[in-house]
Symmetry: C2
Subunit: 194 residues, 2 copies
Amino acid sequence: MGAPPKLYLAGPEVFLPNALDIGRRKQELCAEYGFEGLFPFDNEVDPGAQGEAIDRLIYRANIAMLRAVDGGIFNLTPFRGPSADAGTIFELGFMMALGKPAFGYTNDRASYLERAKGSGAVFDAGKAQWSDTAGRRIENFEAIDNLMIAQALGDQGSDHLVRPAGGSPHLPLDDLAGFRACLDRARRFFGLVG
Amino acid sequence: MGAPPKLYLAGPEVFLPNALDIGRRKQELCAEYGFEGLFPFDNEVDPGAQGEAIDRLIYRANIAMLRAVDGGIFNLTPFRGPSADAGTIFELGFMMALGKPAFGYTNDRASYLERAKGSGAVFDAGKAQWSDTAGRRIENFEAIDNLMIAQALGDQGSDHLVRPAGGSPHLPLDDLAGFRACLDRARRFFGLVG
């Protein structure tokens, strides 16, 4: 048997107080499913040693990881607004351009439209179109986020995106059911099950 | 003289009621600076003809454009939250992985931290760290957005990001001063000035 495939574990959990614990738990789950999980926090960044700003070093370290891995799992749960975390979205775009397999999950079943409507919205019956209170169109594809995010995964395969079932529409940001479901699908994708 | 370099024009203006006008104006400015501007709206999408969902077709058309261009200009003005538009961020990540030159501007001078603090925040003096009211850390690099976005441009060159001057800190989403500044820098980057 060769080395386990490497997965980049993207998501806004890095901003939680227990980020290290969550990273460790995700890596344990990866191992259970036959993968090696790489969490952004794995990077030891020593700004003093290199004379560069710490944000530049973290950027470069994450980019190097994205180039090194075989695929990724992206936590696309909304973060500080109706869309997923900005850093996670950037990394999804980066990985798509590299043509690597990506699996994503969200812990919020609602569509982007439903969330954006929460801040106030107007329906134009003539155009069959929703706009926000500033008059800006709200996409209405029943999707979890902006079409570029939803379709990036959908274009790779109909099972590349995990959305909660109707019974538990709003799970916490750090719930791992969707992550496990992604691992299960990734395991089949990489041929790790007999 | 060869064909003018092609620039992808990313930004949330596609959601404005006058999206087509703005796209046309941006393309005129591109021509003035020696470029050909490609605006997502340029794509004629005919879902009936191909039997695919329109969001899938738009995704593929934009991806094809990102692969075809020589570089891009990204409107990173905050959109429905403290971060830039999700689609624009995805496209920036995609272009970075392709190693193409990108120039970005924001029409809001404030830092990500300043915007995120607006929804309520707590300072931990011991850790010298801000958190939102849900206890999630807020990045504090004085940057315009999540570090992956700001550093993607910064890593290409210190002049790849345009931020408004102190005198006019909050310009409208569709203001084009930053766009012009990006064109000027791109023109030098591509050697289009003598």
